[in-house]
Symmetry: C2
Subunit: 233 residues, 2 copies
Amino acid sequence: MPSPRRAVVLLSGGMDSATSAAIARADGFEVNALSIRYGQRHAAELEAAREIARRVGAARHVELPIDLRAIGGSALTADIPVPLDREPASIGRGIPATYVPARNTIFLAAALGWAETLGAFDIYIGANAVDYSGYPDCRPEYLEAFQRLAGLATKAGIEGEGRFAIHAPLLRMTKREIVERGTALGVDFSVTRTCYDLDAAGSACGRCDACLLRLRGFREAGLEDPAPYRART
Amino acid sequence: MPSPRRAVVLLSGGMDSATSAAIARADGFEVNALSIRYGQRHAAELEAAREIARRVGAARHVELPIDLRAIGGSALTADIPVPLDREPASIGRGIPATYVPARNTIFLAAALGWAETLGAFDIYIGANAVDYSGYPDCRPEYLEAFQRLAGLATKAGIEGEGRFAIHAPLLRMTKREIVERGTALGVDFSVTRTCYDLDAAGSACGRCDACLLRLRGFREAGLEDPAPYRART
């Protein structure tokens, strides 16, 4: 049996990247998981990423520290408050405070470097353009531009036998569809962490944009979110 | 007097990025220097970067650690020997062992994130396509593709009042021309470090590709390289 082709899968520990990893495996790839430690407020996300990598049968899992606090500019990396209790309908409008400048470009660049080292040409990212239309680096035209860049940026792109492909299988899915696809592929969402404001025990707030969209996705799928939430105060 | 526009300048500590920083200042920009600590073999490069930032009057200098050893794949980040004593004429052929997978993409992505935080739209990189034609991410078509990506990747690119520009002022210069331009702009090359194999005291080997091209550049400019070299063994 030939060994499966390798893919690099960006894995944050959230429900989207967990589903993206399960899709990469279902697509027949050997999963090489890459988590970026970018100065997140809590380590629970990375613990979730480790567990997800283990369960999806990843061949390798690299945690690359890139401390984006040094360049600031986001509620996720600097002292800017995370917005709470917004109406789900309003979340998609404008670019939120949780936007991290050039985040996906930095993450995809690191994934590209590792892919080249591994001899991989396929990169999976859990970007989603439906609920998070506010993030410029989750749009199809952005991902196409990065794919084009990848071919020009690398030795493998010029001399190699493959062509780089950026896979964003969730790009046009609603959160409900992500819940359904992940469930069908056996993703255990109880270990995933999506919240922007996890507490030290890894419990979600239930009030930030990420929680509100996630909870709505489970509700619309007719399922209960198995992840831990802390009591509302 | 209006305050000058800001630019982010990638600063490695070598002669090219020192000259690029001097050009950014001469172009009228406030210099914001960004050095990436990517697991270099020696700290002397970063000490050089600090001194160059000070001398060019940088408003800020951020050192961002991105440990590329975690993804390997290069003589500069893994246990692959640096080639020595090659003929200068042969250095430009093929892609050398010192190529770091996706290095400039990772560096430019970080610069883009910081630029957005600072409200800057101009990024300077000391990329050079003449002597290092072997590096795919030093070619004009690569840099143009990144500039296009920058506009799509960011909140500033979509909503902002400027357009991102990737400046690579040395792109088509020979090393001789870089020595001459830098000298004219007051760059003190004695503090710059270019060598791929610096010793603990910060002395250059004189034998790697980077040293051979640098020494030839000074020779052709009719100048002596003021940086320290260790005795040939």
